[in-house]
Amino acid sequence: MSGKYVLETENLTKEFAGFVAVSDVNLKVERGTIHALIGPNGAGKTTCFNLLTKFLTPTRGTIKYNGQDITRLYPADIAQLGVVRSFQISAVFPHLSVLENVRIALQKKRGGSFDFWRPASVLNVYNERARSLISDVGLSAFENTLAVELPYGRKRALEIATTLALDPEMLLLDEPTAGMGHEDIDRIAALIKAVSANRTILMVEHNLSVVSNLSNKITVLTRGRVLAEGDYKTVSENPQVREAYMGTGHA
């Protein structure tokens, strides 16, 4: 656990049949911070995310996590190392209960889990930890509800609880507040803030008030390239950023 940066990319590039979606991105995410990735639509944020979690393979460039080159690893390996992502659309296991949802993640600690000859009751040891995670995100009342029956905002909360169950060192959140009403946004923002202790968070977000409240550092992407970097103030005062992203309405 050394080094200032948890995650570093070097000349990260992704081309789709001639179209360059991410181009020579050198991203450095500092340990223990909340780092936001913003930019206009189609700037390559989601693509960048997919590259970092290996849901896409980079055309060029390297990705280092804690100094280790992870460019060639598989998605599941990345998760194993402690980098866990959330999805732009909510990702829960719909017909499992809230408790089971979280337990699936906790169960990961057992290793392979290929032991098909053991009764499922061996998993009960995780119940306690699962309940505490569930209460952290305010879902205690829904412990036995099927995930599919939760309202949208609570699904996001469940997703975060599941993600935290892996005790990840680094969290990647893709538009955690997309499509939420104001109240939910505030709750999720508070939750992100709370879980950021001892962790590094990289998130994509369009909601500038969330970005300005939460993030320590912001990278602005346009057309696949880094346009600007810095804290909210620096970035929002950058005229290029204002032109390409914020428009005239924001100060």
């Binding site: 189609g42 499509g179 369009h206 992203y245 914020m246 005239t248």
Partner: protein, 238 residues
């Protein structure tokens, strides 16, 4: 103007709707006059999208009355409703991956005369002209939104239903969409808009309806906005 219910372009009364077993709309009543931009506001799950879908006839089951130009639509199938002259731009945009931009644009058949021509649409959204041959879903989010709005302008439908046209868009693009809506209004289109983003809605709307639990619970004109900020805060948490 607020009271002019009869003779409105679109009149909805006691609209109820279900998805399978779940009863979502519990008797929404509202109307849209010719040439207006009307915005539906409300929290997540209030039933805004469902209202638009019920107008278009794409929910599981609906009852009540939806009158367009005086004609009852509640028994018609969605294709017949579209042909009656209403066009819908859905929340998730609905750009077709297997069609290129041009095919996407030309897809909805003309239902009436008087729609915009291709050139007029390109003038409105210059970005589209450059990317005619790319696959529809490879456009950026904002361009997809432009495409989604552009393609229903060709059809000649005079009433446009736009569901959260700004969701997930960068602020700069949102401004652009706002400009477009104002231009469309100038050209004589009538628009029923659903928005979460109140800040944006306030730049385009003539009138607002507030929805909660599948009902319209309040209504005011843009001119009365300042008197109603309190209420809005209460309803929406803005």
């Amino acid at each position: 103007m607020l009271d002019r219910v009869s003779g409105a372009l679109l009149e909805i009364s006691d609209l109820q709707a279900w998805y399978g077993e779940s009863h979502i709309l519990h008797g929404a009543t509202l109307h849209v006059n010719e040439g207006e931009v009307v915005t539906l506001l409300g929290r997540n799950g209030a039933g805004k999208t469902t209202t638009l879908k019920s107008i278009m006839g794409i929910v599981g089951k609906r009852t009540g009355s939806v009158k367009f130009e005086g004609r009852e639509l509640i028994r018609l199938s969605s294709d017949a409703i579209a042909r009656a002259g209403i066009a819908f731009c859905p929340e998730e945009r609905g750009i077709f991956a297997s069609l290129d931009v041009e095919e996407n644009l030309m897809l909805p058949p003309q239902v009436r005369t008087g729609g915009l021509s291709r050139e007029q649409i390109f003038d409105l959204f210059p970005n589209l002209r450059e990317r005619l041959k790319s696959q529809g879903t490879k456009l950026s989010g904002g361009e997809q939104q432009m495409l989604a709005i552009g393609r229903i302008l060709r059809t000649g439908a005079r009433l446009l239903l736009l569901d959260e046209p700004t969701e997930g868009l960068a602020p700069v693009i949102i401004q652009q969409i706002g400009n477009t809506i104002r231009k469309l209004k100038e050209q004589g289109f009538t628009i029923l808009l659903v928005e979460q983003n109140f800040r944006f809605a306030s730049t385009v709307a003539d009138r607002y309806y507030i929805m909660e639990h599948g009902k319209v619970i309040d209504e005011f004109a843009n001119s009365e906005l300042n008197q109603n900020l309190e209420k809005l805060h209460e309803y929406l948490g803005v």
